[in-house]
């Protein structure tokens, strides 16, 4: 089943075309990695996919249901209530975590399942404790975000996103704000999620990680998908831009 479809997406900031006719599909259970140089549009693509930005033209579908469609060269979004419902299909892990500093770790995780999804407290607490255990943070449920390391904060934010039972989990450069020695713990968590067949879309700078964890990789350059395929196809491709980009990571 197709969980996310983006068709002919266009996005412009002022006079700068950031996304030029991008199309992609994410199947259930698939892990898609999006790589590319800074300014290639990969973060904007993710922000459009999570509706933090609106698209100028193109189509956006979640689980086959249209969130936005193209009409006379402009994207038209469906009603807000519909969008809100569709938003429940996915979660996002931010580059700089964006935990709520005034909530404890536990409250960060359970607040929106209780307040937004109106789920039963007992069940939500049990779910949250399972997630914390999975993230290796059982001891930290009463801590406040400022008391945690960056890696721990990012794991809490992953738990917070998972607590909503999303069908797709988006990651926006989840390790970019972390010290190098802390990136490993986050990558491990994402790998474990991949092993559980969690559908994920990951924008990342970690080439080896993308290669190991992704089923499909999209290489973006100057607002277009310059190359895509399986990790093997991509890392052995002869695309000059791709080679140049990968070359920067070898040194």
């Amino acid at each position: 089943m197709k969980l996310l479809e983006m068709k002919h997406i266009k996005k412009q900031f002022e006079n700068l075309e950031v996304l030029k006719d991008i199309s992609l599909t994410v199947e259930q259970g698939e892990v898609l990695a999006i790589i590319g140089p800074s300014g290639s549009g990969k973060s904007t693509l993710l922000r459009c996919a999570t509706m933090l930005e609106t698209i100028d033209d193109g189509e956006l579908l979640y689980l086959g249901e249209k969130a936005a469609f193209s009409e006379n060269g402009h994207a038209v979004y469906v009603k807000n209530t519909e969008l809100k419902r569709m938003q429940g299909n996915y979660g996002l892990v931010f580059q700089n975590f964006n935990l709520f500093p005034h909530f404890s770790v536990m409250k960060n995780i359970i607040d929106s399942p209780l307040r937004v999804q109106k789920r039963e407290k007992k069940e939500v607490l049990k779910h949250a404790r399972e997630l914390l255990k999975k993230m290796g943070l059982e001891e930290k449920e009463d801590a406040y975000p400022y008391q945690l390391s960056g890696g721990q904060q990012q794991r809490v934010s992953i738990a917070r996103a998972l607590a909503m039972n999303p069908k797709i989990l988006f990651f926006d450069e989840p390790t970019s704000a972390l010290d190098p020695e802390l990136t490993g713990e986050i990558l491990k968590v994402i790998k474990n999620l991949a092993a559980e067949h969690m559908t994920m879309v990951i924008v990342t700078h970690e080439m080896n990680f993308a290669r190991n964890v992704a089923d499909h990789i999209i290489f973006m350059d100057q607002g277009v998908i310059a190359q895509q395929g399986t990790p093997d196809e991509l890392f052995n491709s002869n695309n000059p831009r791709m080679r140049e980009f990968l070359g920067k990571f070898d040194s």
Binding site: L52, F94, R115, M164
Partner: protein, 216 residues
């Protein structure tokens, strides 16, 4: 006049001062938030009305504003002013004036919030109301507390301005006694009263700040 009657009269004034202080806070803190919403609104008309309002309230003396509120109904609509209206006029004038200052303090706090908090709230499905009152406002309050304390301390001293409408607050009474009895004692008492009052305000606000220090 002996010291006891003097102090009795001053105590009466003290109570009036405290009444002005408390009602001003009760009305102006929420009103300030509403004006702040106007000032930050996407609607140009609303935004400009709020901006002009704040500009006038901050740009003219509170004493003048109190007189406008008191005498305005007579000069504008020829309504006869009952003497009892003076106290209400003081409360209205103070609330309108302080709301403008609070609105700007709120705005500063709200604008200092990182957009990531709004984005995280949106992704987690919170609606605008929940996002503001549950995620944003509690953090804003922590951020603006020091400026709020400043404003509240100014308010304690500003209550003495009610004397222009002959409201019998602390300072008005002190002045009356001082001139009729030719003594400095009421002024000394008034000085001590304002100082102790503000000391109390500072201690309370400091405690609130400490309470909110459970997170960073």
């Amino acid at each position: 006049m002996n010291l006891t009657t003097m102090l009795q009269q001053l105590t009466g004034g003290m109570i009036v001062s405290i009444e002005i202080f408390i009602s001003t806070l009760i009305f102006s803190l929420p009103l300030g938030l509403i004006i702040c919403f106007g000032r930050m609104s996407k609607n140009v008309v609303l935004r400009n009305i709020a901006a002009v309002y704040i500009s006038i309230m901050r740009g003219t003396p509170l004493m003048l504003q109190l007189m406008v509120v008191y005498f305005g109904p007579y000069f504008l609509f020829k309504i006869r002013i009952a003497p009892a209206y003076s106290f209400i006029a003081v409360l209205i004038g103070f609330a309108l004036n302080y709301a403008a200052y609070f609105a700007e303090i709120y705005r500063g706090g709200i604008e200092s919030m990182p957009t990531g908090q709004y984005e995280a709230a949106k992704l987690l499905g919170y609606n605008k109301f929940q996002t503001f009152f549950h995620i944003i406002l509690p953090q804003v309050i922590k951020r603006i507390l020091p400026s709020l304390t400043n404003e509240v301390i100014t308010l304690v001293k500003d209550t003495s301005l009610a004397f222009v409408l002959a409201v019998a607050e602390m300072f008005t009474i002190a002045k009356q006694i001082a001139s009729s009895q030719t003594t400095m004692i009421p002024f000394i008492a008034a000085g001590i009263f304002y100082y102790v009052f503000n000391l109390l305000v500072a201690v309370i606000m400091n405690n609130v700040e400490k309470k909110l220090n459970y997170y960073k």
